[in-house]
């Protein structure tokens, strides 16, 4: 019988769609019975969707440094390119 610890260990594979249908069924049955695991899955998915935004935006000084580096390396300012280039 599937335990809460198994569900947590297999959560990545479940979300990646890499579990067999039997295992998915066992997890679904377990989730019906276990509110702690339902909460875990809901919050685990929330966490994964938050990860791409976990890095703060660059400062204006960093942006300026990158744009200057591009120009120094021969890149034309983008808005001076002919349209459609």
């Amino acid at each position: 019988m599937l335990k809460c610890r198994d569900l947590v260990a297999e959560a990545d594979l479940l979300l990646a769609g890499e579990l067999s249908w039997q295992r998915r069924l066992a997890i679904r049955v377990h989730l019906l019975m276990c509110r702690h695991c339902r909460r875990f899955m809901r919050q685990f998915k929330l966490l994964l969707s938050a990860i791409p935004a976990m890095h703060k935006p660059a400062s204006e000084a960093e942006v300026e440094q990158v744009m200057q580096h591009i120009q120094q390396q021969g890149g034309k300012p983008l808005d001076q390119r002919p349209r459609g280039e």
């Binding site: 335990k3 809460c4 610890r5 198994d6 947590v8 260990a9 990545d12 594979l13 990646a16 702690h36 695991c37 909460r39 875990f40 919050q43 685990f44 929330l46 966490l47 994964l48 969707s49 938050a50 990860i51 791409p52 935004a53 976990m54 890095h55 703060k56 935006p57 660059a58 960093e62 942006v63 440094q65 990158v66 744009m67 580096h69 591009i70 390396q73 890149g75 300012p77 983008l78 808005d79 001076q80 390119r81 002919p82 349209r83 459609g84 280039e85």
Partner: protein, 201 residues
């Protein structure tokens, strides 16, 4: 980024390119840091932006733009390693099997929850990791994370690169990459859960 913005970007909108830098620069630095080290990550990403600037007209929008930028940055990182005649060697490339799951203490010996997850107050993905106190703790956690775990997390969950590409880049097996990713995610979950429960980390 919607299709209209993408079209403007491809056609040379400088303000939009600067916005792209603003949105993704630090994520790209985090992506290449486990590969080339923190001292060289900035230079690698600066060069990656030059390449991205030159190629933006060819970006079709089929991939997530972070993924597209991430591939360019990783290629630059590999070029940097070759130029320095270095190899990508993580000291702890194979997951240390003796190291337990970060959430192991949350379970009773029988496998049921002993300390179930707290009920998180925040339900917005954009806000969840951005609270100032938590963001500082998160930065410390990521800095202290083993390089191989950090690399897999940044590649898969931040830049959304496919698993086979990650395994090729890091020269790890798919099963090892899965273990590394699970540990990294579990560390993050533990940190956020503790913060949501106690207000500190």
């Amino acid at each position: 980024m919607d299709n209209d913005q993408l079209e403007l970007l491809r056609n040379g909108d400088q303000a939009l390119f600067a916005q792209l830098v603003r949105d993704h620069h630090r994520a790209l630095i985090a992506l290449v840091t486990p590969i080339v080290g923190s001292s060289e990550a900035e230079e690698v990403v600066q060069n990656a932006w030059v390449k991205a600037h030159g190629a933006i007209a060819s970006f079709q929008g089929r991939a997530n733009i972070r993924t597209w930028l991430g591939r360019i940055a990783i290629n630059e990182a590999k070029m940097q390693l070759r130029a320095r005649k270095k190899e990508l060697l993580f000291a702890d490339l194979s997951p240390d099997q003796a190291h337990s799951d970060p959430l192991a203490d949350n379970f009773r010996p029988g496998g049921q929850w002993q300390q179930p997850p707290a009920n998180w107050h925040c339900d917005s993905p954009d806000a969840l990791l951005m609270e100032a106190d938590l963001a500082d703790c998160l930065a410390r956690l990521l800095t202290g994370m083993p390089a191989n775990q950090r690399a897999v997390l940044e590649m898969r969950d931040s830049s959304e690169l496919p698993f086979d590409e990650i395994c090729n880049t890091l020269a790890v097996s798919a099963s090892n990459a899965r273990v590394l990713l699970h540990r990294a995610r579990a560390e993050l979950f533990k940190l956020v859960n503790h913060y949501q429960e106690t207000g500190e980390c």
